[in-house]
Amino acid sequence: MDSGIKGAPLAAATASGAAGGAPFIRIEDVSKSFGSFQAVRNVSLQITKGEIFALLGGSGCGKTTLLRMLAGFETPTSGRIFIDGQDMTGIPAYERPVNMMFQSYALFPHMSVEKNIGYGLKHDRMTDAQRKDRVREMLDLVQLTPFAHRKPHQISGGQRQRVALARALARQPKLLLLDEPLAALDKKLREHTQFELTNIQHKTGVTFVVVTHDQEEAMILSDRMAVMDKGRVMQVGSPTDIYEFPDSRFVAGFIGSITFFEARVRSVSGATALVEVPAMQTCVTARAVPGLAEGALVTLALRPEKITLSRARPEAANAFSGVVHDLGYFGKDSLYKIALPDGTTVSVNSVNARRSGESGRVAVWEDAVWLSFEPDAAILLTA
């Protein structure tokens, strides 16, 4: 299983990078070890100018380490990083055209908001008036003009986060690195700030690399994203690619909820494949993926919202039956847990499109139901 995963992300990365023109940032086979521990393993990525690129993965998978290598705080054990065509090997952090927004914000506690934002401009060749203008412009961008003279401990968490963003953007970096920029904010402020971040990115045109462990955040913010696991990049693609066309069991399971079925390939004809799924006690057709061999064991994955529930046997090509084991009512939709004869539990999400009382539901506890899905909805995974 492992060897299959290794090959896939490289191919995917090159494919999507080439599609967006000349890559702005090229990460070539970068690894980083701390002692005997490998935090980042053979990562290759290409990031296009002006996009928001998300690094998504569980805790300890090496996202921060990769970001710190881009910023110049860590040196890769092997491999090279190019930014705007320039090899970054041996270039210290203070000479890189890169700025970072730290997870803890790292605002200077002894400087006012204004001084914090203007700090990076001290080193740039500009007149005092230009510097002042730039600070004013940045204060305006993040709507903090009234707080210019306050110290960081005199403003709220959300305001601090905006100071950190303004400070990182003030020098007009070619690349902005954001380490979990929204992790410290509450849910409401986070949603608001997500849109603000995208707005600011569109206004400034700076390339953003955002680290996050929140899949929804990655989906909302990014143009493209890389899913990481144990120091490796598992898949690179647009949020839709990653959600609808995961190419490994890890990525499919990491994003959203999903049910996995063991399956065996019966036959492949063009774009569709016929697979036998013991848990469904039937054969189903699904969109074929490269690398399917007749008789091979594969995984069939179904997302809860792609399955339709009905009481009577449907006309659909792919149908199987089970018993309602549990159900949860969430208002706009309901989540059903359907038990199959062999004990597998399938999650099904159905939108409550019609207005009805409890009696109007498709099914309740212990009802026998039919489940069906389109051949396109099923994801076949060879890894």
Binding site: F73, Y94, E95, N99, F108, R167
Partner: protein, 323 residues
């Protein structure tokens, strides 16, 4: 003190007499005692003695026992001692020598101690414990013994003196060449031994302060284009100011009243203020004068500090209120 009222009031409200004491202890007694103990200590062993000294400074010297009395010439309080303090230039000169030596010693301690403290925060944990141990180690041998060791080093025939002389002769022009350097009984010796003795008092508070600093701030400054030296000036140095002030006071205050070091290696014709106070008490038996000098020294050290903190707090407040 507040406990006294409690013990008096408690039996009336508590039906069971055996319970009230333990109740008081459990409710707030321990907190009261923990807070009150150091206060009591300060009041009994610092504030009261100081008030006695302050009162004595307004008395006059007599040949009775104890050798002072209040209001012999009609006035209860006499300002005669303070008048002498301002007119007799022995006091002013010795005060100037003290403050000068203390200032130089403090600055040198800071210049040596700061890099030491900074290095302590940057080495591995195990090395750090060993180095901290080494900083404290001198305290384990007698202070006097260490000063006497220095006296040996200052001697004209010691390797230390000959080494310094050789360096001087190599660097200075030929007609300034020396046979040996006169170090014993100079302010140079006094300052050197002071720096040597008080260095840990500078290093330890500085280390405690620097160790708490968030290293991501350094990274942030570097990320914003600052080279390491600039990072130090812009981030580390201003944030370590409380440590510098604490270390500076811990060295400056005891050093300016230091008696033993100048007595052993200093110039007897240029006494420091500690010597003057001690002489007034012990040799001249002029307790009121000694007290006046002590009070003046304390005021000189404490008043500027209090003014500084007061205005610093005011300035902070004002800045925060700005729109």
């Amino acid at each position: 003190m507040s406990g006294m009222e409690d013990t008096a009031a408690a039996p009336a409200t508590r039906p069971r007499r055996t319970g009230w004491l333990s109740l008081w202890f459990n409710r707030r007694g321990w907190a009261d005692i923990t807070i009150a103990t150091p206060f009591l200590w300060l009041v009994v062993f610092f504030l009261l003695p100081f008030l006695i000294v302050a009162a004595m400074s307004f008395a006059l010297r007599t040949s009775t026992s104890p050798p002072f009395s209040f209001g012999t010439d009609g006035h209860l309080l006499s300002l005669q001692n303070y008048a002498r303090l301002l007119t007799d230039d022995l006091y002013i000169r010795s005060l100037a020598t003290s403050l000068m030596n203390a200032a130089v010693a403090t600055v040198v301690c800071l210049l040596i101690g700061y890099p030491m403290a900074l290095a302590l925060t940057r080495v591995s944990r195990s090395a750090r414990n060993i180095l901290l141990m080494l900083v404290i180690l001198p305290f384990w041998t007698s202070f006097l013994l260490r000063v006497y060791a220095w006296i040996g080093l200052f001697g004209t025939n010691s390797w230390f003196n000959r080494g310094l002389t050789a360096i001087w002769n190599a660097l200075a022009p030929a007609d300034w060449a020396l046979h040996s350097i006169q170090m014993m009984n100079t302010n140079f010796a006094v300052v050197l031994v002071m720096v040597y003795s008080y260095l840990p008092f500078m290093v330890l508070p500085l280390y405690a302060n620097l160790e708490k600093l968030d290293l991501t701030l350094n990274e942030a400054a570097m990320d914003l284009g600052s080279r390491p030296w600039r990072v130090f000036l812009d981030v580390t140095l201003p944030l370590s100011m409380p440590g510098i002030i604490a270390g500076g006071l811990l060295v400056f205050i005891p050093v300016s009243g230091e008696l033993v070091i100048p007595g052993l290696v200093g110039n007897p014709s240029q006494p420091m203020i500690g010597r003057v106070i001690s002489d007034e008490f012990a040799s001249a038996h002029d307790w009121p004068m000694a007290s006046a000098v002590a009070v003046a020294l304390l005021l000189l050290l404490v008043v500027p500090m209090m003014l500084y903190t007061h205005f610093e707090a005011k300035a902070q407040e004002k800045k925060a209120m700005e729109p």
